[in-house]
């Protein structure tokens, strides 16, 4: 079975600085997808960034980028130029690319990011 581990329950960063959230996963599959989701306080969970396992190039979405190391099974999220609105819980998630039926996400336990001014 696949597992996702986020080893940092809480992180903090100052506005305009850069922070990196860690995620490791365990799988025997070669084809899969990885995601980072953001859950702001009392608000809906939204997708931040996604990565296909067979793509070596790291995904980037504006101030958010990932460092995907397939051999090490590591998928960290870097937030540049942090803003107050980045304060949230961040979840790393894995999904198998196999099968035809809808496949659920496997989540890590989350990292709470606080941003100070």
């Amino acid at each position: 079975a696949q597992t996702v581990t986020q080893s940092q329950p809480e992180m903090s960063v100052q506005e305009a600085e850069t922070v990196t959230l860690s995620c490791t996963y365990d799988t025997s599959e070669s084809d899969y997808y990885l995601f980072w989701y953001k859950q702001p306080p009392s608000r809906q969970m939204i997708l931040v960034i996604r990565q296909e396992a067979y793509k070596q190039q790291n995904a980037t979405e504006n101030r958010f980028s990932v460092n995907f190391q397939k051999a090490a099974k590591s998928f960290s999220l870097k937030i540049s130029d942090s803003q107050l609105g980045d304060a949230a819980m961040y979840f790393c998630a894995y999904r198998s690319a196999l099968g035809q039926a809808g496949t659920a996400l496997i989540f890590g336990k989350g990292t709470t990011l606080s941003v100070s001014s």
């Binding site: 329950p9 809906q44 969970m45 997708l47 979840f91 496949t103 989540f107």
Partner: protein, 115 residues
């Protein structure tokens, strides 16, 4: 915009009550999911459905059942609520086809308290 709605943001029930949590999506998604979110445990899958009347157990189905009579609606049922089912419940939906761009869209969540 994809919209996933859940019938209640907050719900308080008594032990032993039958509880229905409703989820509706408006994007014609085939897949629908129910997750439970607890502090320090992340999100855990309770049940999912990939078609009307189809359901699959997730990691923690005990004490729960589901119903999907229409494509847009997926209900989570607590047959006899217990205090250890106090939690945040999140519904999600996605297209059936497996691609990286087939993201799951989440509802706002229902915070259920069982007294």
């Amino acid at each position: 915009d994809v919209k996933v709605t859940q019938s209640s943001r907050y719900l308080v029930k008594r032990t032993g009550e039958k509880v229905f949590l409703e989820c509706v999506q408006d994007m014609d998604h085939e897949n629908m999911f129910w997750y439970r979110q607890d502090p320090g445990l992340g999100l855990r899958l309770i049940y999912f459905s990939y078609d009307v009347k189809m359901k699959e157990k997730g990691d923690i189905p005990e004490g729960y059942s589901v119903s999907r009579e229409k494509k847009e609606r997926f209900s989570l049922i607590l047959e006899s609520a217990s205090t250890n089912q106090t939690s945040m419940y999140l519904c999600a939906s996605s297209l059936f086809r497996q691609t990286v761009y087939n993201e799951q869209f989440f509802g706002p969540g229902t915070r259920l308290t069982v007294l």
